[in-house]
């Protein structure tokens, strides 16, 4: 029973991080119809920037802010320089460009920061709360993780619902030509969308780094897969779907990790992905209309 409770708690927490990461993928997919496979590597490099600041004596919070800012800049620059030319072109070209970015940035991390794994100290205690004699998989740090993800979701919802910029971004994603005719600077909105997504991705990277406590240049490899699976679970088009998909996937993988084996988590994600794509290609929440596969 205790194991089940702890696996569920753990699942919700990792699920929240998957959800944030999936949200970043969905933001980009909605505006440019591109899956950013470089998201993980972009997040990892910002985490490493923050880590070297923290190791040089700065506080965690300075590191976090710098990481998010770095994410913002990287996202905008990447969109403007290398994504803009392939937007709207053959989809294979865009996929290959993001994969190229993925491999280049990941290797760049190794070149700049070394290939060895480094300790990442969480901002809050990671010792679980106690109920009676049992220790729960819930600590001040995991509460911080949950809170941060929740804050981002509320913030993004508010941005898209209640602000002019949010409206313009939704318009550019919905119908580029119409938005352009109505005076929306579509190009800028796309750049902003990528920048925002990169910030959310960086946050997910920082949070997962605190959970796993050790980071290597490749520590986000699995997360890009889990984020993608979560986003597809939710339909790749809907932010709410991404959040629900992330939580569901987090729970499922947590049970697989606890009851079957840590090694098979990646395979379980693959099975979920294939089943969803074959049975409900539009995601769990699709109504009648589906993507032409």
């Amino acid at each position: 029973m205790q194991q089940f409770v702890n696996l569920t708690l753990g699942g919700v927490i990792t699920g929240a991080v998957y959800a944030a990461f999936a949200l970043a993928l969905v933001l980009i997919w909605r505006s440019t119809r591109i899956v950013n496979f470089a998201q993980g590597a972009m997040a990892a490099i910002t985490t490493f920037i923050a880590l070297s600041l923290i190791e040089s004596g700065q506080s965690y919070w300075v590191g976090l802010v710098v990481a998010l800012l770095a994410g913002l800049v990287i996202g905008a620059v990447v969109e403007r320089l290398v994504i803009r030319p392939v937007e709207g072109g053959p989809e294979l070209n865009a996929v290959i460009v993001t994969l190229g970015l993925f491999i280049a940035i990941q290797a760049l991390i190794s070149v700049l920061f070394g290939v060895n794994q480094r300790a990442f100290v969480a901002p809050f205690s990671t010792i679980g709360f106690r109920v009676g004699d049992n220790s729960l998989a819930l600590s001040p740090n995991t509460l911080f993780t949950l809170g941060a993800v929740l804050l981002v979701m509320v913030g993004l919802t508010a941005l898209f619902r209640f602000t002019r910029v949010g409206l313009a971004m939704r318009a550019s994603a919905f119908g580029q030509e119409v938005a352009r005719l109505l005076g929306v600077r579509v190009g800028r909105m796309l750049t902003l969308g990528w920048a925002l997504a990169a910030v959310v991705g960086s946050l997910a990277g920082m949070l997962i780094a605190a959970e796993v406590t050790f980071v290597t240049p490749t520590y986000m490899d699995a997360l890009i897969v889990f984020g993608f699976v979560a986003a597809v679970l939710g339909g790749l088009d809907s932010p709410v779907g991404a959040v629900v998909g992330g939580l569901l996937l987090g729970l499922l993988l947590s049970y697989v990790r606890g009851y079957v084996g840590d090694e098979l988590v990646g395979l379980a994600a693959l099975v979920v992905l294939v089943v969803v794509l074959l049975v409900r290609p539009g995601g769990l929440f699709s109504t009648t209309q589906t993507r032409r596969a």
Binding site: V95, A107, G114, L264, A268, A269, A293
Partner: protein
């Protein structure tokens, strides 16, 4: 795939349009179709046989005139090139991307390692065929799922395969060796090979040389088979499925079936590549079949030009020799070896992006298209 690719198909017919699609290289016609001056026979099978014999002679000369260290490098080129050839069929001809070929190579590699480890190992040919058959089977399963996906969905699904499948090697520790992997025992070198090398160059043959010869033989056979396939009805059907889904369906082509067939052929090549890798590297471990391997293969076929076997070979040669150059450069800049080795991956990534942005047809594709254009201009002038 999409209508956006139509201009690229036209580029193959020697228009002056710049190639916009990554798969443009495969549309440039062979000597037969252009009817240009050529010394090669017009019959496709004869022409390919002639090229095969010439390449085989060239390979023997190359292997005998270089030292053992270089022979080993040729083995590396061979397994990259075999896998890249298979990926070329899938991505270049049929328009399906796969990031899972590293995992498929693992299936072939582990099969070879396990079968060579037996008390009385079967003949090498049988082991290779078994590796190819098993990988084809896995490829068929993946292909059935993949046939219904496209673009980013397919890339994501195969990426999940590449990350998930090596987990099996960790889960079944007893048989598959876990993190350490399996050491591959070297196959026995037959007597006739020793004799043949003695009469040929007078040198004493070694295990490394025997493996290099096996690798090159596998490479040549694979490319011969793939080249024939690409120029046949099958290849044309794949191109039709890639460029014009609706037209292909109207012509009675079953899209799904042909996509699965492309995946199986491609997986078979990946399985053989994995088997050769096991012999060359003498170790199969999960760390050898990471996502980086799959992305390196993608780099090879993109540099060379999607859809061209020669391009895949050129890309594989770069994949083996570029890291050495860069490592030396990195070490002269006072980097440690592991860091310097990563520089090559930065370069691969940048190459992928730059090629896609400025020359989507790749090295071989761009040169072919330029040739076709200049020929068209000349004939237009009269």
């Amino acid at each position: 795939m999409s209508d956006l690719q139509t201009p690229a198909s036209a580029a193959g017919a020697a228009t002056s349009d710049a190639p916009v699609s990554a798969t443009a290289a495969s549309n440039a016609s062979s000597a037969q179709a252009t009817g240009g001056r050529t010394f090669l026979p017009r019959n496709t099978l004869l022409r390919h046989l002639l090229v095969l014999v010439l390449c085989a002679v060239g390979a023997v000369v190359l292997l005998e005139s270089t030292d053992l260290g270089f022979n080993a490098q040729i083995g590396y080129v061979a397994y990259y090139a075999i896998a890249a050839g298979g990926l070329t069929v899938l991505t270049g001809l049929n328009g399906q991307i796969s990031l899972g070929h590293g995992a498929l190579m693992a299936v072939g590699g582990y099969t070879t390692a396990l079968m060579l480890d037996a008390e009385e190992p079967l003949p090498l040919v049988v082991i290779f065929l078994a590796a190819v058959a098993l990988t084809s089977l896995v490829g068929a399963v993946v292909g059935v799922a993949a046939a219904r996906l496209h673009g980013p969905y397919l890339a994501g699904a195969t990426l999940a395969l590449a990350v998930g499948l090596p987990g099996l090697a960790l889960y079944f520790k007893e048989t598959l060796g876990g993190e350490q992997g399996l050491t591959v025992s070297s196959p026995d070198r037959p007597e006739w090979f020793t004799e043949a090398i003695r009469t040929l160059s007078g040198g004493s043959p070694s295990g490394v040389k025997w493996i290099a010869y096996i690798s090159v033989a596998c490479l040549l056979i694979t490319y011969f088979l793939l080249a024939n396939l690409m120029r046949s009805r099958v290849g044309r059907t794949w191109r039709a499925v890639r460029d014009q889904e609706v037209a292909a369906e109207l012509a009675g082509i079953s899209l799904g079936t042909w996509r699965v067939v492309a995946f199986v052929v491609s997986a078979a090549a990946a399985g053989l590549a994995g088997a050769v890798l096991a012999l060359v590297v003498r170790l199969t471990a999960p760390t050898a079949f990471t996502i980086v391997l799959s992305l390196s293969l993608l780099t090879a076929i993109v540099i060379g030009g999607l859809g061209s076997l020669f391009g895949a070979l050129v890309g594989s040669v770069l994949l083996v020799f570029l890291p050495r150059l860069l490592r030396d450069a990195g070490e002269s800049l006072d980097m440690d070896a592991a860091q310097a080795a990563e520089i090559s991956y930065v370069v691969y990534g940048v190459i992928l992006v730059v090629v896609m942005l400025f020359a989507p047809a790749g090295l071989v594709g761009s040169i072919r298209l330029a040739l076709l254009r200049s020929r068209a201009r000349r004939s237009a002038r009269g």
